[in-house]
Symmetry: C2
Subunit: 189 residues, 2 copies
DNA sequence: GCCATTTGCCTAAACCCTTTAGGAAGCAGC
DNA sequence: GCTGCTTCCTAAAGGGTTTAGGCAAATGGC
């Protein structure tokens, strides 16, 4: 009986791949066990339960996404930074749909606190330093950007913009232009 | 043996209520059977399968949402229409979280075509008549609005904006102001 | 009011996923 | 080569999905 060499690390990584292949919803402990050609119960030495697996995949995705975003942001400012940051989200979602779904997985407060969520918020604020927004407008703008990025990417993933003109890439570009313009001319009531 | 008086109609309606109570993910044929105090297999006379149930709940939610939006839009234009329309989405999601999740359920192309999805798109376009946008910018704007509304509401539902100042209502108001301003000053490249 | 047909709900059973308990074999350090 | 920890296993219970086949309640024609 040769051992499979499982570890939490390997399982989570394989789970993320599985998510990209079949969708995050379909990631099950059973499917993962099949992938390692191992009995289901064996995974429970490395994973607390199914929820634990999903949480860990979500944390992995958030971390990867934050790393990419940090990379993209380095040395950029203003519209340049805005576009680069937005593209990171969109590209990640297209390359890794399952992981992206995972990143949207509702974490319990404890996991959320330990997640890269804070880095994401910090980076969004960093982008806004290129625009002239004081609080509380800066926070409103952070929320707007988060909404647009997440909303667009998830509608696109759901197929909302395919099979109709103009193509999605064009809308994306023009929406980023529009957001840049909006941030430069943020209305005061 | 008294009959329970099941029907597809009643099951879907009860399924929608169940979704609001426990979340759309937790809506199962079994849970629904328990609610009617009936054996699980009995539901399969009225429902093709679990997917069918979820699809029908999604269609119901989309229909309700479109009805409310149509109501809100009647007699309004410009910013007034924009705000009323946006509030319909947000309020519906807060009143009926499970149904709102359902409305975001990925439908198969056939169901999507038969859904109220088209009405939603039409209404968004109607709002933009109050602004001066020619194609293809109108389509870009439709996509932007859809992204913001969906994105904001779903981040809010995930608890993203709670427990931090300024409160969500204020951001929402200011974001609608910002969108109105953006639509009135849509940048041309 | 009776009977035949339709319909609605049931039992039974197969299959899959989750999770826990307890056991045996691999591997490391001495 | 023994000791003990870890890894993986078998077994079993519990829940959800789905199909097949059966009996009883409702319905409508006479």
């Amino acid at each position: 009986m040769v051992r499979a060499g499982l570890s939490t690390e390997r399982l989570v990584r394989a789970g993320a791949e599985l998510a990209d292949e079949v969708g995050f919803e379909q990631v099950t402990v059973s499917a993962l066990a099949r992938r390692f050609d191992v009995k289901v119960a064996s995974l429970y030495s490395h994973l607390k339960n199914s929820q634990d697996l999903k949480t860990r995949i979500a944390l992995l995705a958030l971390e990867e996404l934050a790393d990419r975003a940090a990379d993209a942001l380095a040395g950029r400012a203003g519209k340049d930074a805005l576009s680069a940051f937005a593209d990171v989200y969109r590209d990640y979602a297209r390359e890794h749909p399952g992981r992206y779904e995972a990143a949207r997985f509702r974490l319990d407060p404890e996991a959320a606190a330990a997640s890269a969520g804070g880095r994401h918020a910090q980076m969004t604020r960093a982008i806004l330093r290129g625009y002239d927004l004081a609080e509380p407008d800066q926070t409103h703008a952070v929320r707007l950007l988060g909404s647009v990025f997440h909303g667009y990417v998830s509608l696109e993933a759901a197929g909302g913009f395919s099979h109709s003109a103009p193509d999605s890439q064009e809308s994306w570009t023009r929406i980023l232009d529009a957001l840049d313009s909006l941030l430069r001319n943020w209305p005061t009531p």
